[in-house]
């Protein structure tokens, strides 16, 4: 059948072009950010601000001299779907709470609580624009770019998974926009020495050292000797870095590494991994996993009766409330490094106030993940306020000069102050253990609220 040109051809082609333009044009009017909500994240798409109005981000600050903006937009990148979605939601709540406190008037001894909005910017309100990076570095990157170039956010915040934080912050650096990270622990992120990257939370270098210091203390206190160490880690940046650090510390302190297992997430069974651990029979087992794998491994440990003297986790999945909820008593006695523990709320009135607010608003307890994000968001907003402008360079300078005293934080840190690589030099960690379904600080011993249980009882004995 011979090909012949007809007006239909043009019509169809024109329709295609129109469809394409519609798609592209739709992208231009990005929806309004999800408003701060109580319990469930509602999906509202109000007509968004047209792209043409606000001044371009990277340009020189004529905006600063002009009328102060009514709204300050912060882009928040989180895993709102996938295996870490429950953590993502936890973090979202923390950020929303921080924004709400800043926007409203609260009698709390912390930055920006007592005023409404950002006082140095004419009381401008903070609006958070959430984006779901789905746990993939590639999406993190493209969402970061979209938030800056389309949504015109003045700063970026996120991303939880270290691998995603890495690419998203690289994009931020390229676009010249400040990026504040509160809860990714891979040390490499600040080792890069990026100008616009700041991290308030501790790194796994700190956390790892804490775990090994704790092992030293345990051996001293109980007069025992621990010889062998096993490491199980997921294979993205977070797990790989934690693995390297653990191996390094273990070798420095004379432990023998009998199991070194990297696994990819989403496998249909973990029996091979667990069998290897069982065969190696380490005294101490280090685990680096996100939530779904953490649960799967614990269940398999129980099933195959793997009984190391201690299971030491690098946070992440192990501090997710889902972990304890799903496993129930099977989660008892797990020890994890953390930046914050619920019992700090008992010691610090500010922490208690915020934790109570969190619980009453969202129906679940604050975790060390949400505590870190809350602190990080306040730090960022405080810096924007001190910058007195939305110019990225001014915000960056303000961040570099941050010095928040410890008593204004819900953390047990001495404060927030960044070194020249953007790392909070006052970030500290503790170790906590599950007891009766709750996490309690067990180390440092002099700050512990409960005594550590070591060795871990065998599965058969955990009732």
């Amino acid at each position: 059948m011979p090909r012949r040109v007809s007006p239909r051809w043009f019509l169809s082609a024109a329709m295609l072009v129109a469809a394409f333009l519609a798609a592209v044009g739709c992208a231009q009017t990005a929806p309004a950010p999800t408003p701060t909500t109580a319990a469930k994240p509602a999906a509202t798409t109000a007509p968004g601000a047209p792209a043409a109005t606000s001044a371009p981000q990277a340009a020189a600050p004529t905006a600063a001299a002009a009328a102060a903006p009514k709204e300050i937009k912060i882009g928040v990148l989180l895993p709102l779907s996938g295996g870490s979605a429950s953590t993502g939601l936890d973090l979202k709540y923390a950020n929303e709470l921080a924004a709400e406190i800043v926007n409203g008037k609260y009698d709390l001894n912390m930055p920006l609580a007592k005023t409404e909005g950002l006082p140095n910017l004419g009381g401008a309100k903070v609006t958070l624009v959430f984006a779901d990076h789905q746990g993939t570095p590639e999406k993190g990157q493209s969402e970061a770019e979209r938030l800056v170039t389309q949504e015109k956010v003045v700063a970026l915040f996120g991303c939880y998974q270290s691998s995603v934080t890495q690419t998203a912050s690289q994009t931020a650096e390229r676009l010249g926009v400040p990026f504040l990270n509160a809860e990714s622990s891979s040390p490499g992120l600040t080792d890069r020495g990026l100008k616009f990257f700041f991290r308030t939370g501790p790194t796994d270098a700190t956390f790892g050292k804490n775990l090994f210091d704790m092992l030293d203390d345990i051996q001293k206190q109980k007069n025992i000797k621990l010889k062998t160490v096993g490491i199980v880690n997921e294979n993205t940046l977070y797990g790989t870095d934690a693995n390297k650090l653990t191996k390094q510390y273990a070798q420095e302190r004379g432990y023998q590494i009998v199991a070194d297992i990297a696994y990819p997430a989403n496998t249909s069974e973990v029996t091979s991994e667990v069998q290897r651990i069982k065969a190696a029979n380490p005294d101490v087992l280090f685990q680096v996993s996100y939530t779904s794998d953490a649960i799967l491994f614990m269940k398999t440990y129980k099933q195959l009766d793997v009984n190391p003297q201690g299971i030491l986790a690098y946070g992440a999945g192990f501090v997710d409330p889902e972990f304890r909820k799903v496993l129930g008593k099977d989660s008892e006695f797990v020890i994890t490094r953390a930046a914050w523990s619920p019992d700090i709320a008992q010691k610090k009135p500010l922490a208690k106030a915020i934790a109570d607010m969190f619980r009453s608003k969202y129906g679940q307890d604050m975790t060390e993940n949400s505590a870190r994000d809350f602190t990080g968001m306040i730090t960022l907003l405080d810096a924007i306020n001190r910058a007195k402008s939305t110019d990225p360079k001014a915000i960056q300078a303000a961040l570099a000069g941050t010095d928040i005293p410890g008593d204004q934080l819900i953390m047990s840190w001495p404060g927030v102050k960044f070194d020249d690589k953007g790392q909070n030099m006052h970030a500290q960690g503790i170790n906590m253990q599950v007891s009766g379904g709750q996490y309690y600080t067990v180390w440092p011993f002099n700050a512990a609220s409960k005594e550590i249980v070591w060795p871990r009882p065998k599965w058969a004995d955990i009732k």
């Binding site: 996938g82 979605a85 297992i261 249909s268 029996t271 069998q275 939530t291 779904s292 009766d305």
Partner: protein, 304 residues
């Protein structure tokens, strides 16, 4: 071995290699049975109409969710609600056939792939949309905390029950296909559609039946899996690829082939994980598959 100078647990540091081997093999077989069961549904459908259902993994996911919701909302143990999940999947299979597959029976293979792939994406996102991407776990079902110990080998009760369920389902299908008239009509249609219809066998009915049975198998497998695996919208992807390999390895259209291949895959996977490295265990499965299929293109027991 010198006596240890620190408190040890019961098992001590003894190398129990033989025991470890048997334990691993047992685990491999147990999960292999589940692979087989999921695969048999797929191979049945393919054998009938040469359509690869790319959404097969998502059918499994739906079955798992069905079990979960019946446990969560009505406190029904997955094993008790198994007939209901199976029925739900049977209905899903029939609906898929009538609404989608029937219309693309004669379309090029790619259009078929396209259609079932679209269904896969649709079902996966539907699950996420309706039930959030958070994963769910059925806690404390009748069997989920159980464990048998036979001569030092631990057999997880849920896995054991799943394997038993798979064997029973297989036996049923085998009996159905070989011994009943409907079953034989099914096979006849699979063998030669036109000849069978000349004999008075309604192809459309047979196809519907194939989809019903195939999806029913998945329903059973899903209910059994839900007792020990976590449930989330992406779980279909995890088992889906394995299922395709099992079916192709066993030979498209061969039910006994799918059964054997499932066990083989389960075994190879855990052994490779133990002896080589857990991170490449699935790659070893795939390599073995490639080897078999290059030497014997129709799969182990395949027809062509």
């Amino acid at each position: 071995m010198p006596p240890p100078d620190f408190p040890v647990h019961e098992r001590g540091n003894a190398q129990v290699t033989a025991e470890l081997l048997v334990q691993t093999a047992v685990n491999g077989l147990l999960i292999g049975f589940v692979f087989s069961l999921v695969a048999v549904g797929l191979t049945l459908i393919f054998g009938m109409m040469e359509i690869v259902n790319f959404a097969h993994g998502e059918f499994l996911m739906m079955a798992m969710y069905a079990s979960f919701w019946m446990w969560s909302l009505f406190a029904l143990d997955p094993l008790v609600s198994l007939p209901i999940s199976t029925l739900a999947l049977v209905l899903l299979g029939i609906a898929t056939y009538k609404l989608i597959i029937k219309r693309i029976l004669n379309a090029p293979m790619l259009a078929q792939i396209f259609a079932t792939f679209g269904l896969m994406v649709f079902l996966r996102s539907l699950a996420q949309f309706l039930w959030t991407p958070n994963f769910r776990v059925i806690q404390h079902s009748m069997v989920s905390d159980g464990r048998l110990e036979l001569g030092g080998i631990f057999l997880g009760l849920p896995q054991l029950v799943a394997a038993a369920g798979a064997v029973i389902s297989f036996a049923f299908i085998y009996w159905f296909v070989e011994r009943t008239e409907t079953g034989r009509a099914l096979m006849a249609t699979a063998e030669d559609r036109d000849a069978a219809s000349l004999m008075g066998i309604n192809s459309d009915r047979m196809f519907t039946l194939a989809w019903a049975i195939g999806s029913g198998c998945v329903g059973v497998a899903g209910a059994l899996l839900s007792t020990f695996y976590y449930i989330q919208p992406e779980v279909g992807a995890v088992f889906g690829l394995t299922t395709f390999v099992v079916v192709a390895l066993g030979g498209f259209g061969s039910i006994p082939g799918a059964f054997i291949a499932g066990l083989l895959v389960g075994l190879v996977q855990v052994m490779a994980g133990l002896f080589i490295a857990p991170s490449i265990k699935f790659a070893v499965v795939l390599a073995i598959y490639l080897l078999v299929v290059l030497l014997r293109p129709q799969g182990l027991l395949g027809k062509y």
